[in-house]
């Protein structure tokens, strides 16, 4: 798998997952397309070797003489070897369920190591959630079995915003409580003032901000910033908002527009799932990802960025320094050994 580690194809990129498709299929589809293009690339010319092949003698009548001929080695023939790349290591970031759509981060090659680090950064994700008043279903979406129908003409935008304010308030409290900081310290106070308190470990789904984008009875649309959530949790939240407003609501659309540092602008639509676009996407996002990881996790010799051996200037410098040290020490050894033995 020598050239699968080619420098262009290691890193993180985002893909726009359409609704109605499982995330596994999207990952497989991207892998298949990349493999197809990589295998379609022109291969090296097959090795040649000199073979002595029997050829009819000029004399005539059945005599065979050996003639030197340069023939390609059959072992290098594509039909013998098979496709050059059979599998690619493509890992998925935060998953999206079948009914949801939006930004879906994938890592390829060595970039998979960055996926765990991005997960540990606990960055917020932004969703656009669309809802519909008047119905309640068993799986909280508009395609489920109907449970109840209610009136909704008493709902106003002001009431909805009040509920959203309370949701934000309780989730802010949860944010502070799960961040495992002792509330009695000055450090906790300063972090709370700056708004930098964030749980860095396991915690239940927390919503950091909600906003109503669009309100036209019976439909409404919310922008939700959250952590550690699942899409079904967001649908359940829409259902509970309906209950709180003394009516009922179902969720019609869950669309992720931002996952950490990747936004919808960085996500590739299905028409661009090819090698060229993916390589460009990886290049464009590399700097953003590195700055975010450094900011949150800190930079050190043990950080995976260093081990990735990417081609940023810092790493080149550090690598050069390391090489120089090695060369110096080796030169010292050589000099010592070239000294004539002490007579």
């Amino acid at each position: 798998m020598a050239a699968a580690g080619r420098p262009g194809l290691a890193g993180l990129f985002a893909v726009y997952k359409p609704a109605g498709v499982a995330w596994g299929r999207v990952r497989d589809a991207v892998e298949t397309r990349l493999l197809r293009e990589l295998n379609a690339a022109p291969v090296r010319a097959p090795r040649q070797r000199v073979r002595f092949l029997p050829a009819p003698a000029p004399g005539g009548g059945g005599a065979v003489e050996l003639v030197a001929a340069r023939v390609p080695v059959l072992a290098d023939h594509p039909l013998v070897r098979g496709p050059r790349f059979k599998k690619l290591k493509i890992g998925a970031g935060h998953r999206l369920d079948v009914k949801a759509s939006g930004v879906f981060v994938l890592g390829v090659g060595h970039g998979n190591k960055l996926l765990t680090d991005l997960y540990n950064c606990h960055l917020t994700k932004v969703y656009i959630v669309g809802g519909l008043f008047g119905k309640a279903t068993d799986d909280f979406s508009d395609t489920g079995n109907l449970v109840e129908k209610t009136t909704f003409d008493h709902i106003t935008r002001e009431k909805l915003e009040r509920i959203l304010a309370v949701i934000q308030g309780t989730n802010q409290k949860a944010l502070l409580m799960y961040s495992n900081i002792d509330m009695k310290t000055q450090e906790a106070y300063e972090l709370a003032v700056k708004g930098l308190i964030r749980p860095m470990g396991k915690c239940p789904p927390i919503i950091t901000a909600v906003r109503c984008l669009h309100f036209a009875l019976p439909e409404f649309q919310l922008e939700i910033h959250c952590l550690h959530e699942t899409q079904q949790y967001l649908r359940k939240m829409v259902h509970e908002m309906g209950l709180e407003l003394k009516s009922s609501a179902v969720c019609t659309q869950v669309r992720r527009i931002r996952d950490g540092v990747f936004t919808v602008d960085d996500a590739l639509p299905r028409t661009q799932w090819n090698l060229q676009s993916i390589q460009e996407a990886i290049q464009n996002c590399q700097l953003k990802v590195e700055t975010e990881l450094e900011k949150t996790l800190g930079h050190g010799k043990s950080s995976p960025l260093y081990q990735l051996g990417g081609d940023t200037a810092e790493h080149a410098l550090a690598a050069a320094e390391y090489d120089r040290d090695v060369m110096d020490s080796r030169r010292k050894e050589v000099n010592c050994s070239s000294l004539p033995p002490f007579p």
């Binding site: 008047g134 109907l146 109840e148 129908k149 209610t150 009136t151 003409d153 008493h154 709902i155 009431k159 009040r162 509920i163 304010a165 309370v166 934000q168 308030g169 309780t170 802010q172 409290k173 502070l176 509330m183 009695k184 310290t185 000055q186 906790a188 106070y189 300063e190 709370a192 003032v193 700056k194 708004g195 901000a209 906003r211 910033h225 709180e244 407003l245 003394k246 009516s247």
Partner: protein, 435 residues
Amino acid sequence: RRGLGAAAGPPSTRQLREAEEAAPVFQYAGKAAKRKDRVFVWGFSYSGALGVPSFVKPDAGWKKPRRIQGTPYRLETEEKISSAACGYGFTLLASNTRDITKVWGTGLNKDSQLGFQRSRRDQTKGYEYVLEPSPIPLPLEKPQQTRVLQVSCGRAHSLVLTDSEGVFTMGNNSYGQCGRKVVEDEIYSGSHLIHQLKEFDSQVVQVVCGQDHSLFRTKKGSVYACGWGADGQTGLGHYNITSVPTKLHGDIAGVNIIQVSSYGDCCLAVSDEGDVFGWGNSEYLQLASVTETTQVNVPRHLPFKIGKVKEAACGGTGNAVLTEEGNVFVWGYGILGKGPNLIETAVPEMIPPSLFGCSDFSPNVRVARVRCGLSQFAALTNRGELFVWGKNLRGCLGTGRMEDQYFPWRVTVPGEVVDVACGVDHMVSLVRSFT
């Protein structure tokens, strides 16, 4: 409908759609549904101040006595409560109604601060602890026309402000805080006496109780005081007891005062121009910006450069003011709300608005009201959220935890908080439901 011969199967899309359209529609709230007004209480319950008798004397076998109610608990009231006040172990709730019963009291009644509550076991004696909000009989001339505007509670006395019949005072009068002459060896327990005060230069619009003194603010902007004065909290220029409400002078003479506040032994007043005046106890640096003495018995102007002040709140050892822009400034001694490192300051320090929920995402959040208990602070935002901080004495902060809170913390109340009253170890909030 399928005939008997057709096989069963999952319902088709058309059948599902028809079933959905034929389903009945339920109505839970009509278009004119009004938001309901509720009262939530939390804190120490054994004094009866929370008004829930089953916390003190369980009425079912499985219930256990609850010493501290750590989170907001709904108190069912018959009428809509428009004003509430917390004293030292007792609570007064008042409604704006024209019915005969306008004020209810619950909690400690050892000094008849809740009026005379006739005991059912012995008709001649009164209850010393009232466990449920019980009506307080006020000697009104026109009980079906007068409305109660506001109530206020101190350590062992309470004041009730009406719109046309002056101020009613009841409770302990050993320092003249009820506005009547001090009677030697008076027994306050089981007393029927409720005094009425009417002699002010204009109609009284706000009554405030300090620990053992009373302040009255009139429509013309002047302030009257009576009660204990050993710390100068009456502001009348001496350190003696005053048993008749007397007008204050000093730096507030001629100034139109729009709000007065007190809970311990220090008092603050805000003028219509946004200036702050203070008098009373200054042992905890409350008035250290103008004087080094520990007692100030004449109102002094506090030259703070923090902008136009809208509202002031006095606690036992710390004070807070709210400016027109919606910022909260604190000073004094104790847990002031800026982390454990700020224990005392003589100059007001601002609490960062981000602690009240103001951020880039929601920049319009402002603090609308600020209130003080004895060693706690409470702030209400314009979004109806309640933030508390300070010493968590017997769970009075309502956060659900027993630890002190060094910076503003949200209290989860199922509704929009309209007003809050802070006491020594309990709090009462007036809340409107969301929908």
